[in-house]
């Protein structure tokens, strides 16, 4: 016992996380390079020593993919970075991505004992550190697993699909991912901007999933080129649908079809996937007015706003109908957006987009709102303040009020039940759908949510698919 006491170093009792170096706001708002630069080795060790190594591990309960948090942090503290990476990767196929885009503040870090007094341990930053350390210092290795010679198809190569595919491959299944776009990654490629999640890094993570033996077929729009039933005919014994929330919502207000109005999906896809920020070196353009209005208050709205600023807009407004407290975006994203100079027009709602005679956006008419009684979502419902109409001069409007699941698959799959709004209906524990052997998870089920929830769903489904196939031998 005494020896144990002696072996355990005193934790670092600093109330604050070790600061993570970031690009200066006034420099980064003009480039697409990553905002946060990540910990150096000594910073990571110092932060890792803030972990109390709690026996009951409250943090792990907050992680949708069950990362063994105290264990990997202990290894970081000891400078055993490769082992720390292996520990994370036991349960998480995409650590470099999760370390960057997970809302840790409402998951693992929210349950951290250190957060009761001061800041939680920087779990996300440490996860990012070990993943980056590994990518920089080690070659990803082919991971050999015994083959079962049983085929599983995964539709969509976003976070849900990649996780499900990775987990099944580790169990020995022959997994093929079908991706509609020309590159794999889904929302990680088309949605989240370069400055938050570098695309080269996403491709490295996907490469490590491929090293498990997963095959990825791009340019395959399932529902069009092949139906689910045809996949089954081709010998796939189970299918996981992780096709995301690809259908953009518009507001239904006058002027939405004027030139210069984008869905957030289109705006971000042009910039991220098609690299419009490199036009004309890359062929796909994007139109950025002098002033740009983004409608919505989620992470997607923040991403669109910060991208517009980087592409040279003078003023970028976030127009959101509730107050800052109700904003669904992560605190960190709102904070970064403010630092960079985004102007927040809160309790404001657009009523009409105004256009020039030849059909280009010239302004957005809004009304002011005040908060009334809580609605079904528990958030106070905004109501219009009389006589508050006003117009902001903008040339570009991006509608970022949400996305719903794409109906391409459900509309071509008899027997696959969906909610009225398009979400595929599943058993929450297993991800199984109304069609035998077909599972689903991620935004295709929940509507637009987070990367990590999609990964959690992919993980659950992989386990359920394994059980299903074992029983149907």
């Amino acid at each position: 016992m005494l020896a144990d006491w002696g072996a355990k170093p005193m934790p670092n009792m600093s109330l604050n996380k070790v600061k993570i170096p970031e690009q200066d706001p006034n420099i980064r708002n003009k480039n697409f390079l990553e905002v946060a630069l990540g910990y150096a080795e000594d910073m990571a060790k110092e932060e890792a020593q803030r972990c109390l190594q709690c026996k009951n591990k409250p943090c792990v309960a907050g992680c949708p993919v069950n990362v063994q948090i105290p264990e990997f942090i202990q290894l970081v503290a000891e400078g055993r970075f490769e082992e720390a990476y292996d520990k994370v990767r036991e349960t998480n196929s995409l650590p470099a991505i999760c370390g960057r885009v997970c809302p840790q503040e409402s998951q693992c870090e929210n349950l951290c004992v250190r957060a009761k007094k001061g800041e939680s341990v920087g779990i996300g930053r440490l996860e990012r550190f070990v993943a980056d350390w590994y990518l920089a210092n080690r070659e990803s290795k082919v991971e050999k697993v015994g083959k079962l010679n049983r085929k599983v198809a995964v539709v969509g190569s976003g976070p849900a699909g990649l996780t499900c595919a990775g987990d099944l491959a580790k169990l020995g299944y022959d997994v093929t991912i079908f991706e509609a776009f020309h590159v794999p990654g889904g929302v990680l490629m088309y949605g989240i901007p370069e400055f938050r999640l570098p695309k080269a890094l996403v491709q490295r993570e996907i490469e490590s999933v491929k090293q498990l033996g997963v095959e990825i077929k791009t340019n395959m729009v399932i529902g069009k080129v092949l139906s689910l039933d045809e996949l089954i005919e081709e010998g796939y014994e189970a299918i996981f649908i992780g096709s995301g929330a690809g259908l953009p919502s518009f507001m239904g207000i006058p002027g939405e079809n004027l030139n210069g109005v984008y869905s957030a999906n289109e705006f971000l896809t042009r910039i991220n996937l098609m690299k419009a920020y490199k036009f004309p070196e890359c062929d796909t353009p994007v139109k950025i007015g002098r002033n740009v209005a983004i409608v919505g208050g989620g992470n997607v709205a923040m991403d669109a706003a910060r991208s517009a600023l980087r592409l040279g807009a003078e003023k970028v407004y976030i127009i959101y109908r509730r107050s800052e407290k109700e904003m669904p975006a992560r605190l960190e994203e709102v904070h970064h957006a403010k630092e960079e100079g985004i102007i927040f027009k809160l309790l404001t709602n657009p009523t009409r987009i105004l256009g020039t005679e030849d059909g280009w956006v010239k302004g957005i008419e809004c009304v002011e709102m005040e908060l009334g009684e809580p609605d079904a979502s528990g958030r106070r419902k905004p109501v219009i303040k009389q006589g508050s109409e006003h117009v902001a001069d903008v040339e570009t409007v991006v509608i970022a009020i949400g996305q719903s699941p794409n109906p391409l698959i459900s509309s071509t799959t008899p027997g696959l039940e969906t909610q009225k709004w398009g979400g595929i209906i599943v058993n929450e524990e297993t991800g199984s759908t109304s069609k035998e052997g077909v599972y689903a998870g991620g935004d295709a089920v929940t509507g637009a949510a987070t990367v990590i929830l999609a990964m959690g769903a992919g993980k659950k489904a992989a386990k359920a698919i394994d059980e299903y196939l074992k029983n149907s031998q």
């Binding site: 069009k224 092949l226 869905s263 999906n265 070196e281 062929d283 796909t284 353009p285």
Partner: protein, 281 residues
């Protein structure tokens, strides 16, 4: 990668390519389209499927060199590979159950009208085709259209082929001669489809047009291809590309088509510069 198995120059600005894409060929139907990318920095452009051969596993596209991507594509040779080729996208045209149909093709639109005429012909409909071009030199697919049409009228704006006039005038004449069409299909420039739709509305003849707006993914994800149809916003990629010509807001569609005109020009100039550089080197 998708191999170009055949390339044919149809007129100075229009080329045909047969692309090896077995999965697409297996499912392709008239009215549907594909999206392709020539190279890593390339944009995704939609092109309507002009023909397909399920046995050979090939899909035929016909394109006019109007922008940078179509120019780059036009410079590619037989045996070269396209980086990406995805489809078939969009809803196939509903062509069943018609007795007598007028198929109108304007310029390059003829390439898209052809598979529809062919399908209607196969289904046993009487097909009257009217195709129009600016001048005789630009006429494409005359022989092919002939084979699938009970009547074919080829018109030129300048009369250089001996039949001067617009396709609308020809259609009007046929209708007034007593031809009773239960469907008109009009494919070509937006202005042509608008004028044809206005004409057929007067006669109460159902009219289908094929929209080809700006789009990225072609699966309903970006919404860039918004078209107002009967006062409602539709996505051409998943709800179309065929729509009721009497319901489409063509004026809005024409304005939306101008969205990237200045960027297209810049892209082409840069491309021309680079080519110039190569020749000098």
């Amino acid at each position: 990668m998708f191999r170009i198995v055949r390339k044919q120059v149809l007129n100075p600005a229009v080329k045909l390519m047969e692309i090896e894409a077995p999965y697409v060929a297996k499912k392709a139907a008239p009215g549907q389209f594909i999206i392709l990318r020539t190279d890593e920095n390339g944009e995704r452009i939609p092109l309507t499927i002009a023909d397909y051969n399920r046995e050979k596993g090939t899909v035929t596209i016909i394109f006019q060199e109007v922008g940078k991507t179509t120019k780059v594509l036009g410079e590619m040779k037989e045996g070269d590979y396209l980086l990406d080729f995805v489809g078939p996208l969009g809803v196939a045209s509903h062509l069943d159950g018609y007795r007598k149909v007028a198929v109108i093709g304007g310029g390059l639109g003829t390439a898209i009208a052809y598979p529809q005429a062919k399908k209607l012909h196969e289904l046993g409909a009487e097909v009257h085709s009217i195709v129009g071009f600016r001048n005789q030199e630009l006429i494409i697919l005359e022989k092919e259209m002939q084979q699938v049409s009970n009547k074919l009228i080829v018109a030129t704006d300048d009369g250089s082929n001996g039949n001067k006039g617009f396709v609308t005038d020809m259609l009007k004449k046929l209708i007034e001669e007593g031809n009773q069409y239960d469907l008109v299909i009009a494919i070509g420039p937006l202005i042509m489809m608008k004028v044809v739709s206005n004409l057929t509305k007067q006669y109460g003849i159902k009219t289908l047009v094929s929209m080809n707006p700006v789009m990225i993914d072609g699966t309903g994800m970006c919404g860039g291809c918004r078209v107002s149809v009967g006062g409602k916003t539709k996505f051409a990629c998943v709800d179309g590309p065929d729509f009721d010509g009497h319901e489409v807001d063509f004026d809005e569609a024409m304005r939306r088509q101008m969205m990237y005109k200045s960027e297209e020009k810049r892209s082409q100039e840069e491309h021309a510069c680079r080519l110039g550089g190569q020749t000098n080197a």
